[in-house]
Chain length 287, copies 2
């Protein structure tokens, strides 16, 4: 087991199995080849792309509102047919890039079916030890969570909803997930991104996560505030490093966010890690 | 002018203009299409690749020593013909990846002609200000340096020679370039990589740099020790950020190493920089 195995587990998609999905002249997603016909059957919504490769929204869908309503109709039909499960009633903003304009919005449960990128925040909370080393606060996910129950997680993580600043969202998640007061969470700082293309039975997650670090006072104790977390553990960074490298106990993308932490804090380096350059490049594949 | 302009300036190569160069079944470089015939004229050294795309070392070159000698012969002929200039008498280790075995060695002046990756170290030296902000030590390159004279540079940077550890090399460069004593330089920590594919008249540089941070005491003053540096300047990080973003005063790859510093230290973030995700991903293109 090695750090590169964690990166490979995140980037497990065979991209030859997908075709691009376009909207308003921009690529917004990836559809599995074996699902293209099912979408194209709704030919008032999905049509062959003008380039000949993949699908595009029908040209009659002239604006964001029309595109959103039409795609929603198809996703609801797929949900009724049992092809999309766990309808949330929560919409993801669809854009070519994070800073780009919203092209349409799609139901969260259907995002992977269409291979639409989502964005989120992941925060590593750490404590500087008297010996100069670092401890990391690690979450163990609730055992009754529908996704990745019982797996290890970053201290705080969550999806990025439309209409909220990234830091604003992080402060909210800090309070909800770990009872970190806003005035403490405000010291978190952005430290980069991780990106990957992850294949799931539901489809593709070509996601990008904003990573944050928060240095915490030694006396601070988080506690699970909303039932998402089973428990928090404070572990020496060296121990977390071994857990990430040698086991698959961490949720797939949380492992990447931790590897990024180890890289940035000099806990691994090019003299002691033969895969160092590939690890660094692998953290932002397909970003 | 924007951070993405700096990333684009590093990644200025049109890769359609190059074909891969293989050795011992591995891709080791990129040759410009208009130079393929010149190399293939030496058909005891360069032959069409078995895959049909690009060039490969002739199968008769059975080992590292034979490959090194044969390629050196061709590079010397090109140098005599004036196609390669500034012969150094210094050899680069050629490998598919940094941690991989040495496949052959090539004269430094010919590395770009063959599009061979080189590795190096770049270190940002910084001082924590009483107000909590950071100052950065910036080098101005000597005005009589053959490459990039007078451009701004990271505090310490240099190529990675074979047979030396990366940290060992950094400590040596710290002493030679900035008169940083080894016991101080030993506190530098690895913080990641930057990677790019940079086209030059000489050819292609598909390089990867190991980045280091060194926090320095406020009282420390570097001085130019070997004539490579015209002067050192200590500037507020905010001022360096504006110089990198708004001007082309920094040597192309040093700008990337500084952008990586700004990202890791939270000096730019996803709420204030609309290109944030693209900047993060762009720092390790083609790594």
């Amino acid at each position: 087991m090695a750090f590169l195995d964690r990166i490979a587990a995140c980037n497990n998609a065979d991209m030859d199995a997908y075709v691009p999905l376009h909207a308003f002249g921009r690529r917004i997603g990836w559809v599995r080849r074996d699902r293209v016909d099912r979408l194209a059957a709704h030919d008032d919504v999905f049509v062959p792309a003008a380039s000949g490769e993949g699908l595009a929204l029908a040209p009659g869908l002239a604006d964001t509102a029309a595109a959103t309503a039409a795609v929603d109709r198809v996703l609801r039909a797929l949900a009724e047919a049992g092809e999309i499960t766990a309808w949330r009633g929560e919409r993801y903003r669809v854009a070519e890039r994070f800073g780009g304009p919203e092209l349409l919005a799609v139901e969260r449960a259907g995002a992977s079916y269409l291979g639409i990128r989502s964005w989120g925040v992941h925060m590593n909370g750490y404590v500087r030890r008297p010996d100069g080393g670092l401890d990391l606060w690690i979450a163990e996910r609730a055992h009754d969570k529908p996704t990745y129950p019982g797996e290890l997680d970053n201290m705080v993580a969550g999806g990025q909803p439309a209409g909220l600043g990234v830091m604003e969202n992080l402060v909210k998640e800090c309070a909800e997930e770990a009872a970190i007061p806003p005035d403490l969470a405000a010291h978190a700082r952005p430290v980069g991104t991780i990106a990957y293309r992850h294949a799931l039975p539901a489809g593709l997650k070509p996601d990008e996560m904003f990573c944050y670090d928060l240095e915490l006072p030694a006396a601070f104790e988080p506690h699970a505030a909303d039932g998402e977390v089973h428990r928090f553990m404070r572990l020496p960074a060296e121990e977390v490093l071994a857990l990430v490298r040698d086991t698959a106990r961490f949720k797939f993308n949380c492992a990447l966010c931790l590897i990024d932490f180890f890289v940035r804090h000099g806990l691994i380096g090019p003299d002691d890690e033969p895969d160092y350059a590939e690890i660094c490049a692998g953290l932002r594949r397909n970003g």
